[in-house]
């Protein structure tokens, strides 16, 4: 048994801690898997462990509330085992006890980077409707007049010009009039709604359900959030995903004489606590181990982007740089979520002519970051898809303070080597009062439509009913 983790076909056997306990040893040949069934514990082979877990715990995939939970829950086996091992068999717990997660085999789909533009992105400040006098009238000096002419109808705000090359390469598409038909114009409710993409009784996000339904692998790096907490989109009880602020800072510091023992003892203690604490501690310690190895591959400790890519020096730029680094390290990354905050501009959104305006500055940072990301990834870009979403669009009419209030329909950016770009999808009517919904852009395309096409075509997951329960895809837009 040279390596427990790579021998296990289904990594989640190790997640069922009440059934299977791996005991690592300094000498790898002495590593053992222990299975506890009906109160009896015995040594099993990885194949037996898989069969056992497969038989007793069929993958639930999503957190369907109709699946009943056991009243007492699994707990006794592992705890009693560890009691024994801590008191009598302490030596069995080797320093390398941490990485319990398997590496994911690729599911064959793209890496999806999901960007949430928090605060309510103003699609009308990004994209000007040049043939619509109602747009010009409502938006006045903050409207987009000149810039990157995308089609005969639409002009992109000039501060997104770094995306020009991507557009010309037909790798950038825009969907207008997109949104969730149920938005309420509340930041929190609507972020929740868009990220869950399901009824409120499902406490999981669409990307969490994608991860859980596309493969039974439990790889630590299948899905990550760049940030301090996992975004709702990625939440599911069937798979705990990773949240990290940066590759550089993700390390476990300890007293000079504690190091590896701390990892083993913390994992055992949190393992005993069970539930979400056990899973989170195990994922944390596993990731610490892998990222340490990743950092170790760079000689001077500084990783440089490839192909001369130049990221803006911002939280956004640095976040994308880390996503690219993880993608290039072949850790099995399938989904990366990254937030871009600060779009809630009720006042002084600024005109496209003013480079220092609120919207202009963020737009430039946003575009430059993504352009650098594409350059950095080189040929890998062909297997990467980027989508942006935001909780709602903003009111068509600028308010008295040069800002915009919460609205309805919005635009989405879709990017990637496999996106059928160079095109604006969806429809937006002329912005005359009669065409608006309470003064807002009407939602003419359910945002799940382009997402469903991406999940199916680019992520190769055909379980759309699990990812978007209650949504029936309409006529394909053809974005992917």
């Amino acid at each position: 048994m040279p390596n427990l983790d790579s021998t296990l076909r289904r990594g989640e056997a190790l997640l069922h801690e009440d059934l299977i306990t791996p005991l690592h040893d300094h000498e790898e040949s002495r590593n053992r898997l222990l299975a506890t069934v009906d109160g009896r514990t015995r040594v099993v082979t990885p194949a037996q462990a898989n069969d056992l877990v497969g038989a007793l715990r069929p993958n639930r995939r999503v957190d369907d509330p109709s699946v009943p939970h056991a009243a007492t829950g699994p707990r006794l086996g592992r705890r009693s085992l560890f009691r024994g091992s801590l008191i009598g068999l302490g030596g069995l717990l080797a320093a390398s006890a941490a990485p319990r997660y398997s590496f994911a085999a690729q599911t064959g789909g793209d890496l999806l980077v999901c960007v949430f533009l928090r605060g309510g992105f103003d699609g009308l400040a990004a994209l000007g409707a040049v043939n619509d006098p109602a747009y010009a009238k409502a938006r006045g000096s903050v409207g987009v007049g000149d810039g990157l002419a995308l089609t005969s109808d639409y002009v992109l705000n000039p501060h997104f010009k770094a995306l020009g090359e991507m557009w010309r390469a037909n790798q950038l598409a825009i969907v207008v009039g997109a949104g969730h038909p149920g938005v309420s114009r509340s930041h929190f409710e609507d972020q929740d709604l868009c990220e869950r993409a399901a009824k409120a009784n499902l406490r999981s996000g669409w990307l969490g359900r994608h991860i859980a339904s596309s493969s039974s692998e439990s790889g630590t790096f299948r899905a990550i959030t760049l940030g301090s907490r996992v975004v709702l989109s990625l939440t599911t009880t069937a798979h705990q995903s990773l949240a990290m602020s940066s590759i550089e800072s993700f390390r476990l510091e300890s007293a000079w004489n504690d190091g590896d023992r701390l990892v083993a003892d913390l994992e055992a203690l949190y393992g005993d606590a069970g539930g979400v604490l056990a899973t989170q501690a195990r994922a944390t310690l596993g990731a610490v181990d892998r990222l340490k190895a990743l950092r170790g591959k760079v000689k001077d400790g500084k990783s440089k982007p490839a192909n001369g890519a130049s990221y803006p020096d911002s939280a956004w730029g640095n976040g994308l740089k880390d996503v690219a680094r993880l993608a290039k390290a072949d850790l099995g990354l399938e989904v990366a979520c990254i937030d871009y905050d600060g779009w809630d501009m009720h006042r002084d959104i600024g005109s496209p002519g003013d480079a220092k305006g609120q919207f202009s500055r963020l737009a430039k940072d946003f575009a430059q970051g993504l352009a650098a990301f594409r350059t950095d990834l080189g040929s890998r870009w062909n297997r990467v898809t980027v989508v942006t979403m935001s909780e709602f669009g903003r009111r068509v009419q600028v308010n008295g303070d040069g800002g915009t209030d919460h609205g309805h329909g919005n635009l989405m950016f879709l990017m990637g080597g496999g996106i059928k770009g160079g095109k604006v999808y969806g429809t937006m009517p002329k912005l005359t009062t009669a065409n608006l919904v309470d003064g807002d852009v009407p939602i003419t395309t359910d945002y799940r439509q382009p997402l469903a096409e991406i999940v199916g075509k680019r992520l190769k997951n055909d379980k759309l009913a699990e990812v978007f329960p209650g949504f029936s895809p309409g006529k394909p837009l053809g974005v992917a």
Binding site: L252, L266, G400, D405
Partner: protein, 532 residues
């Protein structure tokens, strides 16, 4: 369960918590609840509200420790002893009458080092030489100092809780006014009447600026405050229409800020005139001079609305009882809120004496401000002795502490969004949050002490001496640091850390010198320390 008895009790397993939930709903007659019911002997179905944290740990604690962990940002053995000595209920009642408890030491420290946090907007503008934005950060730092030194832990905890409810970020749009908001609104009413608090908040420059209401006028209405008033501060989402939001915004037109005096001002010329209607509230609003009276009546209506009562009751129950409190408890607390004229103290009294509270041991996960304040306090700092000033480097007043809070994404009032910091376990046990806590614990234990917090050595502060039996030191340290009695299996790695390569049963000078740091780090990093 008699709240004044002195027997220790054990946290119920999940099924017993479920039982308590049912009891709160009036479904089962109580008897013999103080007995520990093993999980397998009581196979009750788990309600959705069952706390699921650390379900594998058999938590042994006392009700005094339980109360201390919930209502103090920095619970200690001394506090648990104090509660026991005074009596459980009596201690709560004393804490609720917070004005009678002098907090001289910490007040003086704030006055001396963070005076910006005690001034009005106009005063701080002058005192800081037009750098009033530093006041917000001074207030943020003051929270940590208060959490460590206060003698009114329950009151200060409520200041933080209500600070997340009527949230104004220390940084950004309202930074010059938010410190004033802290003492004139949050600190003033944290255990007072919510109706008064709401009225004071909505007429305060900090909230008006934070929600752009200073520019909300009849000709160009700005809906930001009108909407958040309904969604976040009162009835909650789902209980109003878009028309209500528009009317709510119209009621708020003209309530603005005077840049000369740096204070609240009502501008009648900006006020929308004509009938307004929000839910069951209606007012002719016939002339511009009626603005303040309409607002007062509107806020009074909102504060006393049943949905507002439920919203606040839920917030307090989530903060102090469990992540998914039972509907029965929430309803009961809402009843108290309405019957007691929106008194937050009355709601808290009822909450802390409820069976559901008593049965919720270990059901909450501490946030970083608490873990850091506790670790700082356990070293028994005598005072705060900054090497800098609020004018020069306000974050530096408490040494590395604000930096650690920043790394853990929990600097006081520095959440970037208007809904305030979340307070449920899933928000604070991400991989990043776990790692950041372990990092902070190591920093506070093994980096050497901050000179800003003059204190003893760790051994001195915790009374660990050479010659003490190692096993006893392990038992006593784990209990002192976490308030839970650890089982033998979990004491084993603690003992092993203290012992190192040595073989004797009592602590040697070398073991004390080299092994105490890693032992404390392990205890602080454990789930026991994180369970509120």
């Amino acid at each position: 369960m008699n709240h004044d008895d002195t027997t220790a009790f054990t946290a119920p397993p999940a099924s017993r918590r479920a039982l308590l939930g049912l009891l709160a709903a009036g479904g089962v007659v109580a008897s013999g609840l103080a007995d520990i019911v093993p999980a397998h002997a009581a196979p009750l179905p788990l309600p959705a509200a069952a706390p699921d944290l650390a379900k594998g740990l058999k938590l042994k604690s006392s009700k005094y420790w339980h109360l201390a962990r919930r209502v103090s940002a920095a619970p200690t053995k001394t506090l648990a002893k104090e509660i026991k000595k005074v009596g459980y209920t009596k201690w709560i009642d004393r804490q609720l009458k917070w004005k009678k408890i002098k907090d001289t030491k910490v007040d003086k420290l704030i006055k001396k080092h963070l005076s910006y946090a005690t001034m009005t907007g106009a005063k701080v503008h002058k005192a800081s030489k037009k750098q009033a934005w530093k006041a917000g950060k001074a207030m943020s730092v003051s929270r940590t100092i208060r959490q460590v030194f206060t003698k009114r832990p329950l009151y200060e905890s409520m200041v933080d809780t209500m600070g997340d409810h009527l949230y104004v970020a220390a940084d950004g749009k309202a930074s010059e006014y938010v410190a004033w908001f802290d003492w004139a609104v949050l600190r003033k009413y944290a255990l007072g009447s919510y109706a008064s608090m709401l009225h004071a908040a909505v007429r305060h420059p900090a909230l008006l600026l934070y929600t752009d209401n200073h520019v909300n006028s009849k000709d160009s209405p700005n809906e930001n405050l009108g909407r958040e008033l309904l969604e976040l501060y009162t009835v909650g989402v789902g209980n109003y229409t878009e028309a209500d939001v528009r009317n709510s915004a119209l009621i708020l037109t003209g309530h603005s800020v005077d840049w000369e005096t740096r204070s609240y001002r009502y501008n009648p010329s900006q006020h929308h005139v004509g009938r307004v209607k929000v839910m069951g509230f209606s007012h002719p609003n016939a002339s511009a001079k009626d603005g303040p009276a309409v607002l007062k009546a509107y806020l009074s209506y909102l504060a006393r609305n049943r949905n507002t009562a439920l919203h606040l009751a839920r917030r307090l129950a989530v903060r102090y009882v469990g992540d998914s409190p039972s509907e029965a408890l929430v309803k009961r607390l809402a009843d108290v809120y309405l019957a007691e004229k929106t008194s937050l103290a009355a709601v808290m009294r009822s909450l802390l004496r409820s069976k559901e509270f008593a049965g919720s041991v270990g059901a909450k996960w501490k946030r970083p401000q608490e873990t850091i304040a506790t670790m700082v306090k356990l070293r028994k700092p005598s005072t705060v002795k900054p090497a800098t000033t609020q004018a020069k480097n306000v974050w530096g007043i408490t040494g590395t502490v604000q930096w650690l809070l920043h790394l853990e994404s929990h600097q006081p009032r520095m959440w970037p969004v208007i809904d305030g910091y979340p307070d449920q376990a899933t928000d604070w046990c991400s991989t990043q949050a776990m790692l950041a806590h372990w990092y902070s614990a190591n920093a506070l234990v093994n980096w050497g002490k901050d000179k800003e917090w003059p204190s003893k050595s760790w051994a001195g502060a915790l009374g660990v001496k050479k010659g003490q039996p190692i096993a006893e030191v392990a038992s006593s340290l784990t209990l002192t640091l976490t308030g839970y009695t650890w089982p033998a299996a979990h004491l084993a790695p603690v003992i092993s850390r203290l012992r190192g390569n040595g073989s004797g049963s009592t602590l040697t000078a070398d073991q004390l010198k080299h092994n105490l740091g890693r032992t404390l780090h392990f205890i602080f990093a454990s789930p026991y320390f994180k369970l509120r």
